[in-house]
Each structure stands twice: as C-alpha cells, then as structure tokens.
C-alpha cells in the first residue's frame, strides 16, 4: 500500500530531488504540490505530472503525508497546520530557525498524534548505517574524537537572507553532522566552540566555520568532534560537496565518506570532471523509511529522525553562533 504524498513549497533546493524520488518509490503516490509562489508550484506540478493545489489546505485534504520544503523560517507556519489537518509531515532540515518554533512543532505532533520527521538523509546513507554498526561493535576501541565535514556550495536566494534561513553555512550544514554524530555514536552534544566567518563571496550570511563539540553519552562519552560546515566548494568542484567523518578510537580509525566518489566522469565537451556516488540513494531510503513508518531500523525502531532529533541539531547550531560571537565554549541546556 502506498501513501498519498504532497510537496508543500519548492523553495528549498532539495525539493526537486524528493519529487524525482517520489515518482519511482513504491511506497509513495505523488499526488500534488502547493506553493505560496504559485508560478514555481505550477511549474513543478507540470514537470512531475501532478496536480497543483491553490492552497496548502487543499493539498492537506488530498494526502496522507506532506514534505515541507519551504524556507527554514517558514517551517513552523507550514508544518503545524499540516499536522493539525491530520497529515504526517517530513520537514526539510533544519527543523526551524528558533527553539521556540521547534517546540511548537513537536507539541503539535504530540497533540495530533501525527508523525513529524526531519529530513536527515545522511542517517540513511549505507556507509553511515554500516559505520554505526562498526563503531558499536568495538572495532576501533573507545571512540576518542571525530573529525567531521559537510562541505558544499553557497545555494543563493533566500539562503542568504538571515530572516528566512536563520544563518549561512553553519546553519545549513552543521545540523547534518550533528545529527549524524548523534545517530552513529548515540551521543548528545554538551557544548560548542566555533570560529565563523564569511570569505567566499557570500553576501548577508556566514559561509565558513569550524566547530568543536564536546559529546556525552552513547559510545563516545567524553569524546570531542569538529565540524567544518563551510560552503567552500564552488562551481569547479566535481560534486556538490561532501559529508565525512574520521572517527578515531583507542585501537583504530574509521573513515566514513557518506557520498564517496564512486564514479568519476570526464566530460570532453565541457572540460569538466564529475564525481557521482553509486549504491543506495539516501534520499530514496529516507523517504521510503518515513512513508512506511518502517520498523527494523536501530533497536527495532525507525532509522529516520524525528522532531526531537531536529531540535537537538538546531541547538548545536544556535550554540555555535553564540560561541562565534563570544569566542568561548557555549554549553547546551537541552530543552
């Protein structure tokens, strides 16, 4: 049985990827699109051969689940009405730009009994799933430290408007690594130190940073991790970016490259080089997991991230921005 699915807003650059996946996913019936930018929504609906809904409410009435791909600052305003309309929601990351919004979204899910998922596809990357098993098997001893990256390119548009995005590279990418650390190691982040800057020609928001996280719990209690979320890749880079972890343990090292360059293509006409991954597509695995409400993930539950996971990742980002101002480690009081 497949779930009827809609996409609310094509503001986020990931929306077209999700739409393409929905079209070929057995667990999904892609029903339609709603978008506050009607022209953008109509164009997307036409491209994927689905219906355009004039209102979000109309879309909610026609689906079981909705993917919210609006601007970060609009997530709460889109997600809460969807939940209240009785629809399961998979919300693009970050969950929101404020802790207050995140709490309201989580509360709405609890009150309505609908599911709120957060789109952290890295959890579903086969290399990351396997890394979780390897580290927990004790193969590298006690985990001491993690050197993590999530590089990419500055997306442009509303991503450069702090009102809508909540911040630049540090907001956009830190959440992926923070969530992956929590997923792989079972840790929580206790405090954050950050150096943040704008160097690569981005206007309006930060495009570079290096964060250091102190971790507690799980299989890395007392370990530390660094995160480089910089938009330091550009048009000349052979792929969109990366997500890597070098996990150093007391008796070994595990290098994780979630989107490893399995295939290299040299295009003689453009002169360009392209790296593309091979194997399981994390977006497809994530959407399938969410739509099936799949059991059989870690500890028998779903692999996918929920609202609480989204909040934990957001707290790391907000602490990083405060540390970037104060030049001191900032503790996280998990709310």
């Amino acid at each position: 049985m497949s779930a009827r699915v809609g996409i609310l807003s094509f503001a986020h650059v990931h929306a077209p990827n999700y739409a393409a996946v929905l079209g070929r996913l057995g667990s999904a019936e892609f029903v339609g699109v709603a978008d506050d930018d009607a022209e953008r929504g109509r164009e997307a609906a036409r491209r994927y051969g689905v219906r355009f809904f004039e209102s979000a409410e109309g879309l909610f009435d026609a689906v079981d689940a909705v993917l919210v791909c609006s601007e970060n600052g609009r997530h709460a305003g889109d997600v809460i009405p969807a939940l209240r309309a009785g629809v399961d929601v998979l919300c693009e990351k970050p969950i929101s730009t404020t802790v207050g919004d995140a709490h309201e979204m989580i509360r709405a899910a609890e009150e309505t009994g609908r599911r709120l998922g957060i789109a952290f596809p890295v959890r579903h990357a086969p290399a990351v799933r396997r890394a979780r098993e390897i580290v927990r098997s004790g193969a590298i001893g006690r985990v001491l430290a993690v050197n993590g990256t999530n590089h990419g390119q500055a997306p442009g548009g509303w991503f450069l408007d702090p009102e809508m995005s909540g911040g630049g590279a540090v907001m956009d990418h830190t959440v992926h690594v923070a969530d992956t650390l929590r997923f792989v190691l079972g840790v929580e982040v206790r405090s954050v130190y950050a150096e943040i800057g704008t160097f690569f020609g981005t206007r309006g928001v930060d495009d570079a940073g290096v964060l250091t996280l102190e971790m507690e719990g799980g299989v890395a209690d007392g370990a530390f991790a660094t995160v480089d979320p910089s938009w330091s890749r550009g048009a000349g880079y052979p792929t969109w970016g990366d997500l890597t972890l070098r996990i150093t343990g007391s008796s070994g090292v595990l290098d994780v490259d979630a989107f490893s360059r399995s295939i290299t293509t040299f295009d003689h006409e453009s002169g360009g080089t392209l790296w593309t991954p091979a194997g399981g597509d994390p977006n497809a695995l994530m959407l399938d997991d969410f739509l099936r409400g799949a059991e059989g993930g870690p500890e028998g539950g779903r692999v996918g991230a929920g609202g609480g996971d989204g909040l934990r990742a957001l707290e790391v980002v907000l602490a990083a921005y405060r540390s970037g101002e104060s030049h001191a480690p900032v503790g996280i009081a998990r709310g």
């Binding site: 001491l144 430290a145 880079y237 090292v253």
Partner: protein, 327 residues
C-alpha cells in the same frame, strides 16, 4: 664546509644521507652517546665517531653542527654550539619550552654562529606550491585551511616521544609542522582552540584537533595523530573565494610500494626527485655561503612553538587561548 652531526638516531641518519649527496659539504664527525649508533652513522659517510658533542668539537674543526636530538636536549646543546661560535642546524621543535627557545635565540645573537631550525614542511614540494598559489592570489580570499598529519607512534632513544614532559606530545612534536606552515601562509595567529587526548590516553597514542583563527581572518583546522595504525599520512586543503587546492599523500603517489611485512614509522617517502630533507639542508648550506636569510628563521621556530604550547594549554583548560596579548 665541515659538518658535525650530533644524534645518530632516525633523523640523524636521514640528514647523513642528505649530506652524502651534497657537493662541497663534508661530514667529519658523528656524535652519539650510543656507541654503536655513532659508529654506524659515521661509517655511512666515512666520518669519525665520537661519544659526545664536546669530544667531536675538540677533535674536529667543524663549521656547522647538525643536531638531531630529543627535544629536551636542544637548549643545552644549542647554547654550547653558540658559545663555540659554530653554526647550528637544529631539528624542530626549537625546544620544549618558550624559555628555552628564548635562551637559544639570545645565545646566537652576536655569537658569530647562525641558527637554522628544520621545519621541513616548508620544503615539501606540494606545500611549497600551495604557498606560492596563496601568495599569487590564485585562490582569492582564503577562508578555511584544513591540514592533517597522522603518524605511527615513534620509538626514539629511551622512548622519549612517549614521555610527554620531554616531547610535548603530538601538538609540540608533530602538529608544529602544520602550525609553522600555516603561519608561513597566513601570518600571525590570533586565537587557538584545541581538544586532545593528552593525559587521558596512555596507550602510546596522542590525538588532537586544533582550530586556529589568524589575525588576517582565515580559519585553520589542524588534525594530528600519533599512534596512527597505518604508515605516515598527511593532507592539506586550502579553500578560497576563487579556488580550492588539495594535496593528499594517500591519493597522489608517483611510486607505491607494497610489502607483506608491516613497516612501522619512517619519514614520508617522497621517493621521486629530491628529498625535502635534502632540499632543506641544501638551503641552510646556501644561506651560510651567501649570507641570505633562510625561509624559516629562529623567530619563526619560536612562534610555531608558541602556537603549539597555546594548543596544549587549550587542551588542558578547555578554553581558547588568545595569542595577541602574549606574543
């Protein structure tokens, strides 16, 4: 030019091999407290072995002393060499403490001898090329530099690397290479924040991740590992507004040698072309002949140590260390 090598351990033998290829340079004596090491080192270049620096310098008319000793012995030897009016090629780090570094620098002021410190990464061809690209503006405004240096645990004389009081651990002995290189590229460091396992791990392992903020703006992330369970590896990435450059010892190797037995330790084997150690020593010799300034001076060596010790302090306190105030 007559050279006396003091310390015929692992690095001493690398230096001896470099001198053997250098016209106009003669190694006349090799000193080591370990009689066998002195004899083997001396035999490799046709020099005479000595049990100590004093014995070597009183028997041989040397111009230059090349010291490849445990770090904790640098100060005492350097002050003697300066007092004897000789030139000194000193392995990095310049010393274990800033006080010792200050004493060494003062000893050479007006001594008639010159001091050179072996920050050899400034002679690795890929690093030289990256520095030139940054300087030429090829990368535009640099935002983030990432470096990594991962070494098996070294077993030196008396296992001195494993004694943090003598070696300073991975930040003072190994990561100092990258701190020096990054200072060369980006100037003075404003803030240092580091986390490491020193004092928490005793199984011949030290690991640290350091963030540097430079006065001119860029951020650097520096990884250092002692006790890496594989042969030596290093990498660097520099990201700017106009481009990104990377070099990784695991990806680009003109020669790749695979052996059944594990090889432990060892210097990075560039294998093709001139060794960076040879390039470094040739540069020092040329500076002595021409009077030109070296690409890395005694003050640079002291500043790199300052950054390393700030990182050690940050690991200890959990707080960032601001350098502007204390430099």
């Amino acid at each position: 030019m007559k050279v006396g090598v003091v310390g015929a351990g692992f690095m001493g033998s690398v230096h001896l091999a470099a001198y053997a290829n250098m016209p106009g340079v003669e190694v006349v004596g090799v000193a080591d407290a370990d009689e066998e090491a002195a004899a083997a080192g001396a035999a490799s270049v046709g020099a005479r072995p000595y049990p100590s620096y004093e014995a070597l310098v009183s028997a041989e008319g040397v111009d230059v002393i090349d010291a490849c000793l445990p770090t904790a012995l640098h100060r005492d030897l350097a002050v003697k060499v300066a007092g004897d009016g000789k030139h000194l090629f000193l392995e990095k780090p310049i010393s274990r403490t800033l006080e010792e570094a200050g004493e060494i620098l003062s000893a050479f002021e007006g001594s008639g001898g010159r001091l050179f410190v072996g920050h050899v990464v400034r002679f690795f061809p890929e690093y030289v090329r990256i520095k030139a690209m940054i300087e030429a503006g090829d990368l535009g405004t640099v935002g983030v530099a990432r470096t990594s240096r991962r070494s098996p645990f070294l077993r030196g004389w008396n296992d001195w690397y494993a004694d943090w009081r003598q070696s300073g651990g991975v930040l003072v002995d190994l990561v100092i290479h990258d701190f020096d290189f990054l200072r060369w590229c980006f100037g003075e460091v404003e803030r240092v924040y580091a986390r490491g396992v020193m004092g928490r791990e005793y199984n011949r392992l030290d690991y640290a991740l350091t963030t540097l903020r430079f006065e001119g703006g860029p951020i650097a992330h520096v990884e250092g590992h002692w006790g890496y369970p594989a042969p030596f590896e290093y990498s660097i990435e520099v990201a700017g507004s106009k481009g990104l450059v990377t070099a990784d010892s695991t990806e680009a190797a003109p020669l790749k040698l695979l052996q059944v037995a594990d090889s432990v330790g060892g210097v990075p084997d560039v294998a093709v072309g001139e060794s960076p150690y040879q390039a470094e020593l040739e540069h020092f010799v040329r500076c002595l002949r021409t009077g030109e300034e070296p690409v890395v001076g005694g003050r640079d060596a002291r500043e790199a140590l300052l950054v390393s010790l700030a990182a050690v302090e940050s690991v200890r306190t959990g707080e960032p260390v601001t350098l502007g105030a204390r430099a």
